[in-house]
Symmetry: C2
Subunit: 441 residues, 2 copies
Amino acid sequence: MRLSQYFMPILRDDPKEAEIVSHKLMLRCGMIRQEAAGSYSWLPLGYRVLRKIEQIVREEQNRAGALEVLMPTIQPADLWRKSGRYDAYGKEMLRIKDRHDRDMLYGPTNEEMITDIFAQGVQSYKDLPRNLYHIQWKFRDEVRPRFGVMRGREFLMKDAYSFDLTREAGQHSYNKMFVSYLKTFARMGLKAVPMRAETGPIGGKDSHEFLILADTGESEVFLDRAFHDMDWSTFEIDYDNVEAVAKVVDEFTSKYAATSEMHDQADYETRVPADRRVTGRGIEVGHIFFFGTKYSEPLGAVVQGPDGKMVPVQSGSYGIGVSRLVGGIIEASHDAAGIIWPEPVAPFRVGLINLKVGDAETDAACEKLYAALEAKGVDVLYDDRDERAGAKFGTMDLIGLPWQVIIGPRGLKDGIAEVKNRRTGERENVALDQLLARFAK
Amino acid sequence: MRLSQYFMPILRDDPKEAEIVSHKLMLRCGMIRQEAAGSYSWLPLGYRVLRKIEQIVREEQNRAGALEVLMPTIQPADLWRKSGRYDAYGKEMLRIKDRHDRDMLYGPTNEEMITDIFAQGVQSYKDLPRNLYHIQWKFRDEVRPRFGVMRGREFLMKDAYSFDLTREAGQHSYNKMFVSYLKTFARMGLKAVPMRAETGPIGGKDSHEFLILADTGESEVFLDRAFHDMDWSTFEIDYDNVEAVAKVVDEFTSKYAATSEMHDQADYETRVPADRRVTGRGIEVGHIFFFGTKYSEPLGAVVQGPDGKMVPVQSGSYGIGVSRLVGGIIEASHDAAGIIWPEPVAPFRVGLINLKVGDAETDAACEKLYAALEAKGVDVLYDDRDERAGAKFGTMDLIGLPWQVIIGPRGLKDGIAEVKNRRTGERENVALDQLLARFAK
């Protein structure tokens, strides 16, 4: 993409309304624009990141055997009356009347609807297990939305729902999602620590939150330093191997980690030696629940078991805050100059800077590299604007692409370009004819 | 995908509520499920088609130089008050009050918001032209939603918006979208005839609808038979070549084609010889508008021109009914046995039928082919259920995958499988070791 033809309205100054760094940086980079309290348009740069995160989430859900569907944003109120949540949900639920005066609502979550879909489509235990998910916009009418996309009202969430015949089978479905979450966040370059959580308004028996560790996190967390020493890279797993999956869950739940809500100081001190006790802050990016028959019973989601008897199915739900992750990753990965994108979610992998637009040789070298990178499928943002070098450097640092390739008349005399690693700040001279091989996979 | 692990709730009988064939077939195949009047969940099979159509639309928008953004579904009413459409829009607009009693609405279209985004981000003619689009769910509260996804209330639309300095430049932007629409629909295997249209509530000066010809179409159309003889395959074009783009538009607008709303019998008889006059029915799948300064003036979308003066920008908007296309394609492509998907939008390219589940040799041959096709990236649905052959054939014909590969004990003795072309019904015996090469690209 040529920056001269892009739409990336950079702000010179920090926007006053932004309280946290991700919100500031997203507004300054022209990634998002506020449309109403807690509601944002995703401009081209921000939208690219959102889509990359969404795609990683999708691929890992599919790998774990979940099937993608899409439920509408607007739901009829009737289903929520059946589960008893229509009145219980409070003012966070955006309630709507259509032109025929029917009660509707903008879905804040989808347990009721998916359970009903499942119940209509499946009659026998032979069709179990099933896990259905969608990636859809939700609306929760928070009293005081803030922190940009970190606590918006309209936000993009992946929510999956598992259906099993027995408690044991349901546990395996829960464990599969647990493991797929570790893999999902690892692919984004994140350490997301699973912590036992309260089940809150979803209800249920078992629940874990996944929190990214970041100094600016919303929650105080207490954990064993051993978490820092674990291997957080992604890994292969056979999801059909019940024991192998359970083993990974054990490994990540046997060490102490808790948010302040669930923290138990006595237990902490018993289990974690003083020199391994770490307190910090975390941002919730995923939340999984096992709730058994809480929704299948009122909504009549029953299947015929092997003995011919009808039994309500065992269910869980599994959420990832897709739009929230964009902010969360920035909170965990930035410096004073701007964002530092992990490569898998970067809007572009390479930022190409032309130091002297109008200079025939520099233009030619940049155009040649730009065309070659595009042809190889490398995401590249080419700053071909007639601006001074300092402004170009500042913009590239601000938007945080992993690699900068800087081409100007001085280097060209020696046949070289400068390559800068945004994360480490390291600069290296690379021969022009080596650049393509360096970035093409 | 193994059918035994899929979620595709087939209905045995035609659903009574469905009046048209696409609605019937989508419900019968388990592609969608109705959640409220005019509101559907997309089940796995239907969702795959929706995503394939969406991706073709996206690729062709990008190719024509449009930049993808995403605006929220819920909009503040204020912007619509500025353009004067808040009161004008009527009951089709879903109006909402949030918990702080602020007037909000579920976006039926986005001229106001995008014009405001543009105005805040662009100040100079040097940053023109720009075309911003998004693919987002819309809500229009129709009095009587019907025909399934063909006239839903919540529907997925691609809407693009162009911004130019002059009327002439705006015409080129309009022409680029016109040409990209021809290419988009051609890639889906559709003949979508452009017809001059009324501008309706969007307003403006110039407008074309794109209609698929289908016997079950909602509109009566009158056209020159010459349209049938044109080349409807996709083609290469240099979008920067103003004349080449205009030439394609001329070619597709010089012949007579009109819906009954715009039909002029005298003009028709003058321009089209009697033996070339064709009447038929069509389904609108795209609509483009050029409206000049209709929104830029009230919303203050002005740029500084080359002479230093501020001028309101010239705009157009360009819609494609993404979810409607799923139904439209079925209306245009089905037979008595079910759907016939054009390959580029088929949910799976190949349906693999195991005629004797449990027979060791048949199972092994099917598993081997299934694994090989998956490894090559071929979308394959493997019917590994323990059902009788007749039911499997019926299901495959109903869901309309382009190719069926049928493997059973009898053919295996001779080392062959049967390959059936769903569209032509042709059957062919193919040696087992030739199957992979046949379907892998």
